[in-house]
């Protein structure tokens, strides 16, 4: 089956994920792509762009540079900009054309680091994968490159995988911080530059974008992680138990059969399904349209790869659907459609209708009303 989109949108791409997860860290991200291609990110993927600027730039790649293999255009321009802007770190990432010509970003990052003495790393994005992959790899590389383990800080939680692509800038981040701080738990948001990230006692993964980093820190620094979002009161209490976990924890969902489905970011959707079960007694499944963690999949969940596949599954199985409004185009007309805009999917179209479900039962009830 061809991966064609008759009418629905596509998710933000891997390059956008890199930019988004590193946006507030004080670095400089250079996307190796054509002039103007950063407009997609700054317009449709980044609600912070007009509010507070970040050093996210495009290399303005031309066909001549590509054909002649003039990588020095990228390195020279990056070094020049870095000397003017003095970022905390530099991240290079690629797009389809550099992927095609086999640009060696690892070597270029090394060269730039030598010339600037600024920590520099690369993420091998190709513009052909979702933002989850780009953000996940970028966060992991950022931690490897910039963080140093000194001493374990008990009762300290890193929040991994936060980006507005999944958790919009409508107070969701602040509610998560408050949830922990009210209980005396110190919070490091991985969206903010911190050299101490490896010292934390626990990691809370709030989107699939944080999974790579969480696994890396578990495997290398014995930091256990929990994959869940504090949606609704009961799940919030569950999340607050994080200082007591000793190994990775995933939400358990055992629903085998349902006609109630959620489409969206995988970890968000799993958390929402769990919250609906705990708060409203609704057994919901998840239709995965993005990368997921297999250990958190319920028997009723379904993984889809194309628009047509999604449309057919919903037509066959779904009577109640929670999804971004654009999915309504391929949802059965007789199903109850409950709108839950997802910025990584519909961008600015419905951004002011994105609810803040964190730690809030009322907002959850509003979604399914």
């Amino acid at each position: 089956m061809k991966n064609t989109l008759k009418i629905i949108s596509c998710y933000s791409a891997d390059t956008a994920g890199v930019c988004s997860i590193l946006y507030e860290m004080g670095g400089m991200v250079v996307v190796h792509d054509a002039s103007g291609c950063n407009s997609t990110y700054s317009t449709h993927d980044e609600p912070r762009w007009s509010k507070y600027p970040s050093n996210i730039f495009i290399s303005a790649l031309t066909e001549r540079d590509a054909i002649m293999g003039r990588d020095e255009t990228l390195t020279d321009n990056t070094v020049k900009a870095a000397k003017e802007l003095e970022p905390r770190f530099i991240c290079l990432c690629g797009s389809p054309m550099p992927a095609l010509i086999g640009t060696d970003f690892y070597a270029l990052a090394s060269e730039i680091e030598k010339k600037t003495s600024i920590p520099t790393f690369s993420v091998a994005t190709t513009g052909t994968y979702s933002y989850i992959q780009g953000a996940g790899l970028a966060l992991k590389e950022f931690i490897i490159k910039t963080s140093v383990y000194k001493k374990r800080e008990e009762n300290t939680v890193n929040i991994l995988g936060y980006t507005p692509l999944d958790l919009y800038i409508n107070g969701q981040k602040e509610r998560i911080v408050k949830l922990f701080e009210d209980k005396g738990i110190k919070v490091n948001f991985s969206s903010e530059y911190s050299e101490n990230i490896l010292n934390a006692s626990h990691n809370l993964v709030v989107s699939q974008s944080g999974m790579e980093a969480a696994k890396y820190m578990w495997e290398n620094y014995d930091i256990p992680y929990m994959c869940a979002l504090p949606i609704g009161e009961k799940l919030s209490k569950f999340v607050l138990d994080i200082p007591n976990i000793k190994e990775p924890v995933f939400l358990e969902r055992n629903t085998a059969k349902t006609s109630f489905y959620i489409l969206g970011e995988s970890l968000f959707s799993q958390s929402l399904a769990k919250a609906l079960s705990l708060e409203e007694g609704i057994d919901a499944g998840v239709v995965y349209t993005l990368e997921k963690e297999d250990r958190a999949v319920a028997p009723c969940d379904y993984t889809t790869s194309t628009e047509e596949d999604t449309e057919n599954f919903l037509k066959e199985k779904a009577e109640n659907i929670i999804a971004d409004p654009i999915y309504k185009h391929i949802s059965p007309v007789n199903a109850k459609f409950m709108s839950l805009p997802h910025f990584a999917f519909s961008g600015r179209c419905f951004e002011h209708n994105i609810p803040n479900l964190m730690c809030d039962d009322h907002a959850l009830k509003e979604v399914i009303k």
């Binding site: 061809k2 596509c10 407009s39 993927d45």
Partner: protein
């Protein structure tokens, strides 16, 4: 973040061949410019099909979503594997067919957009189109290009305007019909150019409600273009149909305006009307605007007008205090104005240089901008929300601009709200 002010170039010291060094680029959130999705949507009853990697698709799909035309755009997603396994051409054809087969109502025409990777790998798009034409004989297909990497030969913007008219076939020539081509903005129906052209004989794609209307442009006798990015579109279309083309560029110079009208009248074999009253009206409009605006510093940007230096010169000559121009390069058509402008103290700023992220901090309390980029970079709510001259033409453009400047000076706009709308004059779902 606002660490240091970006350094401008004094116009008196500027190298007109290269105003600024190239380098990494920043993207200012002034969204009024049109992209190839907006332009393609001007073709009635057509469907746009984009064949690109996900990263390239995202912007085009959401452009359509925001303008409420998602039902006229489809996509074929190119995977990383397909970039290397020799299936690129096959996927364009099969992916497009898959979409067309799933549509309940077939479009009259398909604008098939391919991307940088297709051109770079030598994709035989003609072969793909032939196969699609054979399979869907009732649909007209043309190739379009989202190829920003390949811009050194021809920009995607210019190419789009050429391809938009590529489906027009020659019909029996109607000597009376004159068609304006290549403009994103609707034509200026109040312009004095209609003292020369009869309105009922004037055509523009903006007036086409059906695909048949569009095809009827094939009876055109004279094609006119008025913007640099449209010139090639008119030339190629006229040549293909065996008709005439006149390039009458929109101008902010009285002599050039008169020259355009002389050229048009000579071609049509009519006596040139006396446009003195229009010129006087324009001068009076600027006089009135000047009385209101006074010596408030003004910035002019290249998104508002194709000839920012020419406009800056006109305004300076009329007594306005133009202090800044935003332009990455000099439009060769305005070299004369650029030279004349050197006697004024004007700073030129680039639009994409990384240091522009700091925006421009000035000593002035109030700045009037003509254009969205100026409004963003100089952080002023007093701006003329103009893109591509808003389609205005001739002396009427000058009168209208003077009025808009006065209005902008007196009535501040909600800058962040206005600048977020993509495609000036297009519909938008944003609120």
């Amino acid at each position: 973040m606002f660490k240091e002010n970006p350094l401008p170039v004094k116009i008196s010291q500027a190298n007109k061949a290269k105003l600024f060094d190239t380098g990494l680029e920043y993207n200012p959130p002034a969204r009024g410019g049109w992209n190839i999705v907006h332009t393609g949507m001007l073709l009635p009853e057509a469907r746009e099909i984009f064949v690109c990697p996900q990263g390239c698709l995202r912007g085009v799909i959401l452009t359509a979503a925001e303008m409420g035309t998602l039902d006229r755009l489809s996509s074929v997603v190119v995977s990383e594997e397909e970039m290397f396994d020799g299936s690129l051409e096959e996927n364009i054809a099969e992916g497009s067919a898959d979409i067309l087969d799933r549509l309940e109502k077939k479009p009259s025409a398909v604008l098939l957009y391919i991307s940088c990777i297709h051109l770079f790998t030598g994709c035989d798009i003609e072969n793909v189109l032939s196969r699609l034409r054979e399979r869907y004989p009732d649909i007209d297909f043309t190739d379009c290009y989202m190829t920003p990497t390949m811009r050194e030969e021809i920009s995607p913007d210019v190419k789009m305007r050429i391809q938009l008219y590529s489906l027009i076939k020659p019909l029996k020539e109607n000597k009376n019909i004159i068609t304006l081509v290549g403009n994103d903005m609707p034509p200026d129906t109040e312009s004095e150019i209609f003292d020369i052209i009869e309105r009922e004989n004037f055509r523009d794609i903006h007036f086409c409600n059906t695909y048949s209307d569009y095809l009827s442009l094939g009876e055109t006798s004279l094609f006119i273009t008025t913007r640099p990015s449209a010139k090639q579109s008119g030339e190629i279309l006229a040549q293909r149909l065996g008709r005439k083309h006149l390039y009458l560029p929109v101008s902010f110079n009285f002599e050039n305006i008169e020259k355009n009208y002389s050229l048009l009248c000579t071609y049509l074999g009519v006596l040139k009307p006396d446009f003195t009253p229009y010129k006087e009206k324009a001068l009076k409009a600027f006089e009135k605007a000047l009385a209101t605006i006074g010596d408030t510093p003004i910035v002019v940007d290249f998104l508002a007008v194709a000839r920012p230096f020419e406009l800056a010169h006109l305004l300076c000559e009329q007594g306005f205090n133009v202090k800044y121009v935003i332009a990455d390069a000099l439009n060769p058509e305005e070299e004369e104005s650029f030279e004349k402008l050197k006697k004024y103290d004007i700073d030129i700023y680039p639009s994409v240089n990384v240091n522009m992220i700091h925006r421009v901090q000035t000593e002035y309390n109030k700045i009037l901008s003509i254009g969205q980029k100026g409004a963003f970079y100089f952080e002023t709510d007093f701006f003329v929300n103009m893109v591509y001259e808003d389609g205005l033409y001739g002396y009427h453009a000058l009168c209208r601009l003077a009025l808009l400047m006065e209005d902008a000076f007196l009535n501040p706009k909600d800058r962040n709200k206005v600048l977020k709308y993509k495609g000036h004059f297009c519909s938008s779902c944003l609120n």
